[in-house]
């Protein structure tokens, strides 16, 4: 193994750790998956040869390790009854009896500018942390790791419909959270 390759891989450890922590929410599990990723990467130097982007390659390995960790966790903690999670009780106050919005849902002012601001990204992370555990996990598997819904369902042992409900709930909660904590300020 070349020393150069090793140091390049090592230099990406902080990035990988942040990536894993955002998804797994547990620093120890995140640390473990990153460790496994680095070991796997160092052992597979030959298969990296010729690829252009080390970070992309490492992130790909890390994603597999994260999914493995999630699979282990969901085996240990059984899925709560679908019925419970499928009810969108917390969204009821938003809608009138006929299913239309009770209150105006205002547009956000220059959201694209917010994307460049560190404080906004911190606010987004705080909103993500407030999501119920499984809702947040499914949302991040979809939007952060870019997995397809089918894949997420398979790993978590839930139906597609269940998955879509959780994603809907996450999006509605996040937009409300950002509305309150950022855009309405």
């Amino acid at each position: 193994m070349s020393a150069d390759f090793r140091s390049q891989v090592e230099s990406l450890r902080p990035y990988l750790l942040r990536y894993a922590t955002l998804q797994l929410r547990n620093p120890e599990t995140a640390e473990d998956t990153v460790q496994e990723t680095l070991l796997a990467a160092l052992a597979a130097e030959a298969s990296f040869a010729g690829r252009s982007n080390l970070r992309t390659w490492l992130t790909g390995i890390l994603k597999h390790k994260i999914v493995d960790a999630i699979r282990r966790q969901s085996r240990e903690a059984p899925v709560p009854a679908a019925g419970e999670e499928m009810e969108l009780a917390e969204l009821e106050p938003l809608f009138a009896e006929d299913g239309h919005f009770k209150d105006p849902q205002p547009a956000w002012e220059s959201p694209e500018d917010a994307l460049g601001q560190k404080q906004f990204l911190a606010a987004l992370e705080a909103c993500l942390a407030r999501l119920p555990a499984r809702t947040g996990r499914v949302f991040l598997m979809r939007e952060h790791m870019g997995l397809e819904t089918g894949e997420i369902c398979k790993e978590l042992g839930i139906t597609s419909t269940h998955c879509w409900v959780l994603l809907y709930r996450a999006r509605m909660a996040l937009r409300e959270c950002l509305q309150t904590n950022w855009f309405a300020k």
């Binding site: 990035y15 299913g99 990204l121």
Partner: protein, 64 residues
């Protein structure tokens, strides 16, 4: 009559995760045309996707 906001926001969300049927797309489009609330929510859901993508990009930038 036009679909409810409740139904349309669910379809808009699902549209980010699966291909909607032609009927569903039509329903959403007709509703968004007349309902600014849902049109705003729809834009915000799409924005969330870009924002979370930035979170990963920003991770690397923060580390230089």
């Amino acid at each position: 009559m036009t679909a409810s906001c409740k139904e349309v926001t669910q379809l808009v969300s699902q549209g980010l995760d699966r291909n909607l049927s032609l009927g569903e797309r039509l329903k959403v489009r007709l509703h968004l045309f007349v309902c600014t609330h849902c049109a705003n929510v729809s834009r915000q859901m799409a924005f969330l996707r870009r924002a979370v993508a930035r979170l990963s990009a920003d991770e690397s930038e923060r580390r230089g």
